[in-house]
């Protein structure tokens, strides 16, 4: 079932550039943990170290440990492919495979790995995953249609269905709603609330209200300036972070001045 993650003294580099410095945190199982902070502060970079996805970028490396139930993900005998099967990921922009039908997209984790699966088992997996992503009723009559024909919000839920079809223990979400309209966002947020019964969920978001709505614990990242590394400023119960944070920087970010900053963030994301 859902697994606990302990991060200790993690430094993340791109080549010689220290992108994120000295992060230590504990992520509880069967809960939603939100990462907030201004653009470029290393939230997404840090998120990607939790399933070794950052290694895809040439020159990226880490120091420190990320332990999943006590097992260091960066140990010598750890297979990054197995890590990613255990820790699923949903990206900022919905990215269903354009050459595959809705059904094949859900089965992608099985099919792409050349694993054999009986037809009935495949049907069951498709239905269970699509139901898990609250998409079944909308697509059950057109499973053979291309996944790219769905709306943005449906595509994102298809990507979530695809991620949970691999049966991961942990689900990472990198700004999953930033490209979606409010109604689709609400659908995904409801879904996150249901998924946390079974998974450890980590979500990066630029939306304070979203963090407040969906998460149990919130981590605030910040960056001192361009070219400086991002750091974890504070992590606590979400209610505490948004009402009585311990750090002044957190207070500044989540309270009134945030409105100004958030609009700057939105502008930065838009560019």
């Amino acid at each position: 079932m859902a697994q606990r993650i302990d991060v200790k003294d993690l430094n993340i580099y791109y080549g010689d550039f220290l992108a994120v410095q000295d992060v230590s945190m504990t992520i509880d199982p069967q809960s939603v943990t939100a990462f907030i902070g201004p653009s470029g502060c290393g939230k997404s970079t840090f998120l990607r170290t939790l399933n070794r996805m950052h290694e895809v970028i040439p020159g990226a490396r880490v120091e420190g440990t990320v332990e999943m139930e006590g097992v260091d993900l960066y140990g010598d005998d750890i297979d990054p492919v197995a890590v990613r099967r255990n820790v699923g990921m949903v990206f900022q922009r919905p990215n269903p495979f354009p050459t595959m039908s809705i059904r094949d997209n859900v089965l992608a984790g099985v099919r792409l790995n050349n694993r054999r699966i009986s037809k009935s088992a495949a049907e069951e997996l498709v239905e269970a995953s699509l139901r898990g992503a609250n998409l079944w009723n909308e697509v059950k009559d057109r499973l053979d249609r291309p996944g790219s024909g769905l709306s943005g919000g449906q595509q994102q839920r298809l990507c979530i269905a695809r991620a949970i079809a691999v049966k991961p223990q942990v689900l990472l979400m990198d700004e999953p709603c930033s490209a979606l309209d409010p109604i689709s966002t609400l659908a995904i947020e409801d879904l996150i609330g249901e998924l946390k019964q079974d998974y450890t969920i980590v979500i990066v978001t630029h939306n304070m209200q979203q963090a407040a709505r969906v998460s149990d614990r919130t981590a605030f990242f910040n960056i001192a300036g361009t070219g400086k590394p991002g750091r974890l400023i504070e992590m606590n119960e979400t209610s505490t972070i948004f009402s009585t944070p311990a750090e002044q920087a957190t207070e500044d970010y989540v309270s009134a001045p945030f409105l100004v900053r958030a609009s700057q963030d939105v502008a930065a994301v838009g560019t």
């Binding site: 492919v81 099967r85 990206f91 990215n95 249609r145 990507c159 691999v166």
Partner: protein, 322 residues
């Protein structure tokens, strides 16, 4: 933008007039530029199209009369002088076999090299491969032919002519084209799809085979067919490697073969035949020239057919929206 105000003709408010002036403001210089460039671009298009249309028309009008079932299904064996009963079947067979063999050699090498460059290559080795591929693109085709001849001479001794040597010569010309076009196509596959696949716990090689290649298969096919079209009309390297023959030969590993471009060249250089008893049904003076035009037409139709197949493959395999 012109901001000059014009007199208010219809008695509307000043703001309306100013807006109208700003939006209708005739920018004479820009319009003239627009006209000039339009004319230039259209004339460039016509200049580019004229030779192409003229070429197709000439080949069609000169070659169409020679095309018949016999012409397509007979060889030139025991055909001499102005005898019009010969055909190009042996040359069609030779062209198809040699080009197919060259494709079989070039596509794996070229595609794998492209995959290396896009998915794995970095640093000195990748730059070196890119550089030499670029250099190879410019190799004169006769040099490729001589390379293949000397390579096989090392193993088989001098004077050997066979289809496979020609195929090797053609693949020397074809590989860089395949690498280049496949590289561009693989680069077009969005990184998001690779990441989506990695995030599902799919290893890199399966991601390449089942996501990257599958997504770009339409473009890869087009690129490969263009490379085939590039070499199918080669004459010089085939002349030195495969030689010429008047007979049908299905075995590229044994004996000389005829190919369409070489056939056209040979027939053309034969010139007029002498007909001692005057022109008749069994002796046509310019039959060799007619044969050359006929072979040229068949070659063009083959290339056209390849392109059509490419289009169809493109349509079948490209990602669909609904």
């Amino acid at each position: 933008m012109s901001t000059a105000t014009i007199p208010d003709p219809s008695g509307t408010t000043e703001a309306t007039a100013r807006t109208r002036a700003a939006l209708t403001g005739a920018d004479g210089a820009r319009r003239r530029k627009d006209r000039t460039m339009t004319v230039l671009i259209w004339s460039a298009f016509v200049v580019a199209m004229a030779p192409l249309v003229s070429l197709i028309w000439t080949v069609l009008s000169n070659g169409a009369a020679r095309i018949s079932m016999d012409f397509l299904s007979l060889s030139m064996r025991n055909i001499f002088g102005g005898d019009p009963s010969g055909g190009i079947y042996h040359a069609i067979v030779g062209t198809l076999i040699i080009t197919a063999l060259a494709t079989v050699i070039s596509v794996p090498v070229g595609l794998l090299a492209a995959i290396y460059l896009v998915e794995y290559g970095k640093g000195v080795l990748a730059r070196a491969v890119t550089f030499f591929v670029d250099v190879m693109t410019g190799i004169p085709s006769i040099v490729a032919g001589l390379f293949a001849v000397s390579l096989f001479t090392l193993f088989l001794g001098p004077g050997v002519r066979m289809g496979v040597i020609g195929a090797v010569a053609l693949s020397v010309l074809m590989i860089p084209v395949v690498v280049r076009s496949c590289e561009e196509m693989l680069k077009l596959v969005p990184n998001e799809l690779r990441e989506a696949s990695y995030a599902l716990g799919v290893p890199k090689w399966l991601t390449i085979v089942k996501v990257v290649l599958r997504t770009s298969v339409a473009g890869l096919t087009t690129g490969i067919l263009l490379a085939v079209a590039r070499v199918i009309g080669e004459t010089a390297p085939l002349l030195v490697t495969v030689g010429v023959t008047d007979s049908i030969n299905f075995d590229p590993f044994e004996g000389r073969m005829m190919t369409l471009p070489v056939f056209a060249y040979r027939q053309y250089s034969q010139g007029q035949a002498t007909c001692p008893g005057g022109e008749s049904a069994t002796c046509v003076a310019d039959i060799a020239i007619q044969n050359a035009w006929g072979a040229a037409l068949v070659l063009i139709v083959l290339v056209l057919a390849l392109n059509l197949i490419g289009r169809l493959v493109n349509r079948w395999f490209s990602p669909k929206l609904r």
